[in-house]
């Protein structure tokens, strides 16, 4: 019993001294390091997105630190795993901001988890930035239409992809008539379809048929047969790779050869497994980045990334890398480690050159950046076209 008491006392002492450390206010002298929080999905359902982003971020930080850091300070990443869970993401954001004393938090990767951390950022007046939260609603602008001051992202949103693919269909493929087969069970596909229709019709095109399916469906033969005899030039297929792969396979099996367009939900190696190489011809999708981009900056990134991690980078790696560079750039321009000054610098960004494109931060905290349309031939990415925002 006595032993336990001593242990408890000792523990109290330790906690007390730790609290003392935490309470010490930073002195006036210039700090030698700056802490940046990393709040990502490192395990759980979307761990592959989180891990890929973090690899890119850490690579950017390593490069910056090796080159002398930002304003003479070394970047210290504080990396935590939110387990792909929104509640966990919220509590980690609080922990990073309140306990760890970070100046900005990067992540999470998916819109839902990222949105869960917005109130924490607003309350603590510390900026959060995501590289891949593409949801149209509720991210940088709240439900009332007011911009969330401390919330940024450096990817385009879903509806922009719908607009781009519609322009791609009418300008690059000279399509006049389109069929839409959309995932009715996701907001993502809904937003894409809506914007595709508006843009495509505005440029003189006609939507011949609009069919829907529900996530996890496997049989699309009936809807494909019903559109087969219609007169159309392209199929727009907003949705995720799990169903898109099967739709493409069944469409090609039924003899439908029209080009099939989609968005970044196609970007997975599983698409190839499900559809098979033979079906993946004349398939185009919009993405954040393409490894076929001949820009020297992109090619250097690919080379450096492949040397460091032994695999070719995907879009999430590239977005993560840009995110790391972007936050460091903002700290540099802010000239201080005050989160509010960093927030202002993030919002002021003009012409930031990243591997996923050059962008300026818009007034609504969405970047104005170009998009890449990737073309597949026998399942391999063979063409890429950069489309600039209008």
């Amino acid at each position: 019993m006595k032993k336990n008491l001593i242990l408890v006392l000792a523990l109290l002492l330790v906690i007390g001294s730790l609290a003392g450390c935490g309470g010490a206010t930073p002195t006036e002298e210039t700090p030698t390091e700056v802490k940046i929080g990393i709040n990502y999905e490192l395990s759980g359902a979307v761990a592959s997105y989180g891990e890929a982003s973090v690899n890119g971020i850490l690579m950017a930080f390593d490069e910056i630190n090796a080159a002398g850091g930002v304003n003479g300070m070394q970047i210290v990443p504080v990396k935590l795993d939110n387990k792909s869970d929104a509640a966990e993401a919220t509590s980690l954001a609080t922990r990073l901001m309140v306990q760890e004393g970070v100046v900005a938090v990067l992540g999470p990767a998916t819109s839902g988890n990222y949105m869960a951390t917005i109130p924490v950022a607003t309350e603590n007046q510390i900026p959060i930035i995501s590289a891949s939260a593409t949801a149209d609603k509720g991210v940088t602008v709240d439900a009332a239409g007011k911009v969330n001051d401390f919330v940024f992202r450096l990817c385009f949103n879903d509806s922009f992809q719908g607009v781009t693919m519609a322009n791609f269909a009418s300008n690059n493929l000279s399509a006049k008539n389109a069929v839409i087969i959309q995932d009715k069970s996701s907001d993502y596909a809904e937003g894409l379809a809506k914007n595709f229709v508006t843009t495509f019709e505005a440029s003189g095109g006609t939507i011949v048929a609009q069919e829907g399916y529900v996530g996890k469906d496997k049989d699309f033969n009936a809807i494909l047969t019903s559109i087969r005899n219609k007169d159309f030039d392209v199929i727009f297929l907003p949705g995720y790779y799990q169903e898109a792969g099967l739709v493409i396979k069944q469409a090609r099996d039924l003899g439908i050869t029209a080009p099939i367009l989609g968005a970044d939900g196609f970007d997975s190696p599983v698409l190839l497994e499900l559809a098979g190489a033979k079906a993946l011809n004349d398939v185009y999708f919009s993405n954040h980045y393409s490894s076929l981009d001949q820009d020297p900056m992109v090619q250097n990134f690919i080379k450096a990334y492949t040397e460091k991690y032994g695999v070719e980078p995907n879009a999430f790696n590239a977005l993560g890398y840009d995110l790391g560079m972007y936050v460091a750039d903002a700290i540099k321009r802010a000239g201080s480690v005050d989160p509010v000054a960093i927030k202002d610098a993030l919002a002021d960004t003009q012409g930031f050159a990243g591997v996923t494109g050059t962008f300026s931060m818009g007034a609504d905290h969405n970047p104005i950046k170009s998009i890449v349309v990737i073309g597949l031939k026998d399942g391999v990415q063979t063409t890429s076209v950069k489309v600039d925002p209008k």
């Binding site: 529900v214 996890k216 496997k218 009936a222 005899n229 099967l246």
Partner: protein, 292 residues
């Protein structure tokens, strides 16, 4: 017309799969009056066994089909022995709830081991297609329909021409009387589970090849629709399950082809409600007054 014929091809391929699953429902119901809700998940496990056999052991279509059928038969018997047999004399609702529990157990144990992401089969059957006018029939569809018909003929033979089949029919009519006549009731019930589950396993492999996408929750929807098919055909009736399966497949295809694809599932379940109101015993069911 071409379009209609093509839709019939689609509907019959889909319906054959429902029919194979529905057979398991109907046989089990016929013999112990249990709606075995875990049946759709046996089908899912059959798909995964076929996946393992073809991907890791590099087996062809027929060996994979047979391995999957045998493994599912064993699984069906195991489930029956562990979960249902101890409840043989309990109330029907207790067994029904147990069946739902077994269903969830199979789904999430499988998800724990194989993960939630979809997997795809290697290319096993040639995807050669036959063009008859504008109608396209591919080899996989032919395999599905032929396998389904062959298995159903085999089942009719077992039930009507063999001693075990006779025992099955006897147990189904009157369990106690059958026991008094010296029929080993427990063994007959196990055998029924084995056959029903083997058919579900076969359906799993066929679906894996045809759609090229399997996941741990793939059994839920087809399981429910096969249940509707079994009720439509007259639960307990084997030819009824075949007719029911094909009808549901065709109904679903026509609704999405000519109506709205979003109402496809709703149409199937609305159909179930209509049957239960108008003809609860189904097309070929015996007209007994019994509550399920």
């Amino acid at each position: 017309m071409d379009q209609f014929l093509q839709q019939m091809v689609n509907g019959i391929s889909l319906g054959s799969i429902y029919a194979l699953i529905a057979l398991g429902y109907t046989m089990v119901y016929g013999i112990i009056k249990l709606i075995n809700f875990a049946h759709g998940d046996v089908y899912m496990i059959g798909a995964y066994i076929g996946f393992a056999a073809t991907t890791y052991a590099n087996l062809g279509f027929f060996p994979a089909l047979i391995i999957s059928m045998l493994a599912c038969a064993a699984l069906g018997v195991l489930v029956e022995k562990i979960a249902y047999k101890p409840l043989r004399n309990s109330s029907r609702i207790a067994v029904l709830i147990t069946a739902i529990g077994v269903s969830l157990l199979l789904e999430y144990v499988m998800m724990f081991f194989v993960g939630a992401e979809v997997r795809s089969y290697p290319e096993l059957l040639t995807d050669k297609a036959f063009h008859i006018g504008e109608v396209i029939i591919n080899m996989q569809q032919i395999y599905i329909v032929v396998t389904a018909i062959a298995l159903m003929i085999l089942l009719q033979f077992i039930v009507h021409k063999t001693k075990t089949g006779k025992a099955m029919r006897a147990v189904s009519i009157d369990k106690d009387a059958a026991e008094l006549m010296g029929i080993r009731v427990d063994r007959t019930i196990s055998f029924t589970f084995a056959i029903g589950s083997a058919f579900a396993g076969a359906a799993g492999v066929l679906v894996g090849i045809y759609y090229n996408s399997i996941d741990p929750l793939m059994g839920i929807m087809p399981g429910l629709k096969a249940f509707v098919a079994a009720v439509f055909g007259g639960i307990g009736s084997i030819p009824g399950a075949m007719i029911g399966g094909l009808s549901i497949g065709i109904l679903e295809t026509l609704v999405s082809g000519y109506g709205n694809s979003m109402y496809r599932d709703a149409a199937v379940f609305a159909f179930l409600i209509i049957i239960l109101i108008l003809k609860p015993s189904g097309l070929l069911g015996k007209n007994t007054r019994e509550k399920v």
